[in-house]
């Protein structure tokens, strides 16, 4: 029997108080994610239980107990406090998936500060935009990534502290605002006065990309844990003796909601692999650590598929019990393939996004999987499909529209950092002056974020694609505006447009169309130079994998580049109404 039991029964008598039952919550307990994921587990008598099995490249492997998690997160909290960091300050975590990432995340929350994890592959420009937007006060990083921070530090007046947590042990190599803090080498901090946070206390700030403008910070709160813990239990079906592996990087929301908060709130052992991807390495990791529950991404699954069905059979994967996936639509072939390779175990697709904070539509254990479908709304989530033009709920199964949710679930984001106007724009029917706290409590509104889907006669949802120009590559949203802004900083480029083009493994990859300035000629070497320019400034994800030189870009008569037209050509789709394009 799965944790959720009967989906239909759960629908009929659902309350978010179920999360409290799952956590064994008693009224009056301290609602602080950092403490719940460490101190609380220890207080329940599980301090010696393994919390984290960490493996790096080569033979590096370290195991940490929940008591270690408690003490090392205390260590980070105390150190940050000693620097003058106070509740509400934004503290960025910018490092690979090393143990200190996990300890510091919990420590920041214990202090009452806001954790701002950023993908360590971000280039200096991506980093700067996000730190400037958040007014980040401190950044935790490693020697490996310090150079990128140094490059932008002088342009970030709010950034007071750069803390190097690994790779540097000589203070003589540091600059005045930089310090070294190695939590495992420092005295163990057994007690810390945890910030008395409540359900509405800000906790995590994740940046996400949109069609227009620079990335926005989606602000979450400590009360999000109700949604994250319950979905971890009911969807990922974790149990006390499981070894759970979430392959996501905590620079993205899956890596925090389900790579830190959900499993550790429930006292689950999880493992982390901080190493480059190869199929053999992943399969070995599952075997060596006797992984039972595996939460991964379609891009990774398709990459594994490319290496064939024989390779996984070289390993003992008999420990696996439950598989789930997130990040982009999981194609039917991948679902069927996993069932063939792992003795009938199929990946359960889950659907959600940065702003929702937790799983919204999903295939829960016990539910019939319809390969290619996203599944059904999680209990407590009211979902619908809105007509593309009228924004009224559609009543016809199979009709494509916008996925929409009634606001108010616990893990819903509370704001876009200092952008209430953009927050408001996500709610159909919102008043022009409505504030975020009104919007998320209004049961008459629909929250819409830009994906198209339909539902079938049995209530299964089927993903169709984005309703805007945002590029979903390898499960990560990349904003075309951010890429185009960086492209035109290249000395050869006059104008640029970035769109997604189909890709077998990553669903989409970035393609750029560029016009060149006078004096520059198209060439293969210039294309490579542009690719590397974007890779270093933004990230490998944002790097165009193809660049097409063109004499001119399609524009409206008012001069706006029409990405829709370019994207349609890439996907072999009808570009729609082109009458508004300028002729010249």
């Amino acid at each position: 029997m799965s944790n959720i039991g009967s989906y239909e029964k759960r629908l009929s008598d659902f309350s978010w108080d179920e999360a409290k039952k799952v956590l064994g919550w008693r009224e009056g307990e301290l609602l602080n994610i950092g403490a719940i994921c460490s101190d609380r587990v220890c207080a329940a008598g599980h301090g010696s239980k393994t919390a984290l099995i960490w493996e790096g490249f080569g033979d590096r492997k370290t195991v940490y107990s929940f008591d270690d998690l408690r003490a090392y997160s205390n260590g980070f909290a105390a150190y940050l406090r000693s620097l003058g960091i106070v509740p509400g300050d934004r503290v960025c975590i910018f490092m690979d998936k090393i143990p200190s990432l996990y300890f510091s995340f919990l420590g920041i929350l214990k202090l009452g500060a806001i954790a701002q994890p950023l993908f360590s592959a971000f280039g200096d420009e991506s980093l700067e935009v996000r730190l400037a937007s958040a007014g980040t006060r401190a950044i935790l990083t490693t020697k490996k990534h310090l150079r990128k921070v140094r490059k932008i530090k002088d342009r970030l007046p709010d950034l007071r502290h750069v803390i190097v947590v690994e790779g540097e042990d000589d203070p003589a190599n540091l600059r005045p605002y930089e310090t070294i803090f190695d939590v495992e080498a420092a005295p163990r901090v057994e007690t810390f006065d945890v910030h008395p946070s409540g359900p509405e206390t800000p906790s995590v700030l994740h940046f996400t990309s949109g069609t227009t403008g620079q990335p926005k910070g989606a602000l979450h709160v400590h009360g999000s844990i109700w949604g994250q813990a319950l979905t971890t239990s009911w969807v990922l079906d974790v149990r006390p003796d499981d070894v759970y592996w979430c392959t996501a990087d905590p620079g993205w929301v899956t890596g925090t909601s389900y790579g830190i908060i959900g499993p550790w709130a429930l006292g689950i052992t999880q493992c982390v692999l901080d190493s480059g991807f190869t199929s053999r390495r992943w399969y070995q990791f599952i075997q060596d650590n006797r992984v039972t529950v595996w939460y991964s991404a379609p891009t990774a699954i398709r990459a594994l598929m490319k290496d064939g069905s024989d390779l996984p059979r070289e390993f003992d994967h008999s420990s696996l019990r439950h598989l789930a996936s997130v990040g982009e639509p999981l194609n039917a072939e991948a679902v069927i393939w996993s069932g063939q390779v792992w003795g009938g175990l199929q990946f359960h697709d889950t659907f959600w996004q940065t702003e929702t904070g937790a799983i919204m539509i999903t295939n829960v254990p016990g539910m019939e999987i319809r390969p290619g479908s996203m599944g059904k709304p999680f209990p407590g989530i009211t979902a619908t499909i809105l007509d593309l033009k009228t924004h009224e709920p559609v009543t016809d199964p199979g009709k494509v529209g916008l996925i929409a949710f009634r606001p108010g679930w616990p893990s819903m984001f509370r704001a876009y950092w200092e952008r209430p106007d953009i927050y408001r724009s996500k709610f159909v029917g919102a008043r022009d002056d409505a504030m975020p706290e009104e919007l998320r409590k209004d049961p008459t509104l629909w929250y819409v974020y830009g994906d198209r889907a339909s539902y079938d006669r049995d209530g299964y949802y089927w993903f169709v694609g984005r309703d805007d120009d945002v590029i979903n590559t390898g499960g990560h949203l990349v904003g075309p505006f951010e890429i185009e802004s960086a492209l035109v900083e290249h000395p050869a480029i006059a104008e640029a447009a970035a769109v997604g083009k189909p890709d077998e493994v990553n669903m989409e990859v970035v393609k750029a169309f560029v016009t060149l300035k006078a004096g520059y000629e198209p060439s293969d070497d210039l294309e490579l130079d542009i690719m590397n320019f974007i890779r270093k400034r933004l990230s490998p994800l944002a790097m165009p994998q193809e660049i097409e030189y063109t004499e001119k870009l399609p524009k409206t008569r008012s001069g706006k580049i029409v990405r829709r037209y370019l994207r349609a050509l890439e996907w072999g789709e009808d570009p729609g109404d082109v009458s508004t394009l300028a002729d010249d």
Partner: protein, 82 residues
Amino acid sequence: MDDMKRVVLEYVIEEYIDEEDEDEITPGTPLISSGIVDSFSMVSLKRFLENRYKVSLPDDEATPEAFDTVNSICDLVRRHMG
């Protein structure tokens, strides 16, 4: 070290390695499995090889294993040179 290995190694160091770590990289250093070069960045490395050596490397041969060291990269390129 032969000329191709030297050129590829210099390119990898120039494009993917922090200058402070240069002396740690050899033709046998794992690049993909160690995380020095990620799967997205492999695309630009492949493009460099194709431009420089005038070859076309099929996607199904441009695997993480084939790109894992400068040695294996050069083996792959040589197989496709005329």
